[in-house]
């Protein structure tokens, strides 16, 4: 199989595979530094600061015998939402795919959760939409 689809996608928090994730995405971007000088008629740029951000949608799940991977929506909410003024936790995320040989290929990074949107609507599954930004350079990348 040369192409991959959502069925091949894997999201991990720490070493725990998130069991109820429906979508995830990430975007890598880079700022630019302008090095154009007098006399130039064309803009000249060099690469600047890189950043990584992304989002994921995880269905809220709880049942007898549910694993920590099944209840990850709740875990992530508890990483961001704190009572009593406690500091939020950073999270180690791995986003990747299982390739044709079954090898897990991913990007791993420590992220700061920037938002969690939870919605409950008639006819839809109760889920948490999380957004995150990488706190540093990725610690692993082999996609």
């Amino acid at each position: 199989m040369g192409y991959y689809s959502g069925a091949d996608g894997v999201m991990k928090v720490g070493s725990t595979t998130v069991g109820r994730v429906t979508t995830f995405s990430f975007t890598s971007s880079q700022e630019t530094l302008d090095v154009t000088t007098l006399g130039d008629r064309d803009r000249k740029l060099i690469g600047g600061t890189r950043s990584l951000s992304g989002s994921a949608s995880i269905a809220y799940y709880s049942a007898t015998g549910a694993t920590s991977g099944d209840t990850m929506a709740s875990t992530l909410m508890n990483n961001l939402i704190k009572t009593g003024g406690a500091a939020s936790d950073t999270v180690t995320l791995s986003l990747g795919i299982n390739d044709h040989s079954g090898t897990y290929k991913d990007i791993t990074m420590t992220v700061v959760l920037t938002s969690i949107a939870v919605s409950s609507a008639q006819g839809e599954i109760f889920s948490a939409d999380i957004s995150f930004e990488a706190a540093d350079a990725p610690s692993g990348f082999d996609l």
């Binding site: 530094l33 154009t36 006399g39 600061t49």
Partner: protein, 144 residues
């Protein structure tokens, strides 16, 4: 008197004022003005150069130039900044983007005016190996 060549780095922006003619102005009670001129040569030209996102080596060359221009002065010998490259006649510093050679002559100050630093350069670090440097120069007539 020794000329010290400024490193050949193109600026991002350049601001030039041609200086003034030494004079004193008197205004009488009826509003009429009288001028006493003390010279027929303009002086105190100013040149502000900004170099954005230049490399560390280029920053070093500017700072080294600032030191070499201001060190080693004696009672009779001073130094000044020269923007005319010894090899290529006109370097890119003050003439970049200027096509009219007669206008370049103003910026270079091909008169008796001599460029000197009007204070130390300002270096602002922006990125690894990149900084923005601002230099201010003033050109004055040296006494004979």
């Amino acid at each position: 008197m020794t000329a010290t060549y400024f490193p050949s780095i193109s600026p991002t922006s350049r601001s030039y004022r041609p200086g003034e003619y030494a004079r004193q102005e008197f205004e009488s009670l009826d509003g009429t003005k009288s001028y006493i001129r003390y010279g027929n040569k303009r002086t105190s030209s100013t040149l502000d150069l900004t170099f954005e996102n230049i490399t560390d080596l280029q920053v070093l060359s500017i700072l080294s130039n600032y030191e070499s221009v201001n060190e080693g002065w004696t009672d009779t010998e001073s130094k000044w900044v020269e923007f005319i490259d010894a090899n290529s006649e006109r370097n890119k510093v003050v003439t970049a983007g200027v096509e009219a050679t007669s206008l370049q002559d103003f910026y270079i100050e091909r008169t008796e005016l001599k460029w000197r630093y009007d204070g130390p350069p300002t270096v602002r670090s922006t990125f690894p190996n990149r900084s923005t440097v601002q230099c201010k120069f003033v050109a004055c007539l040296d006494s004979p």
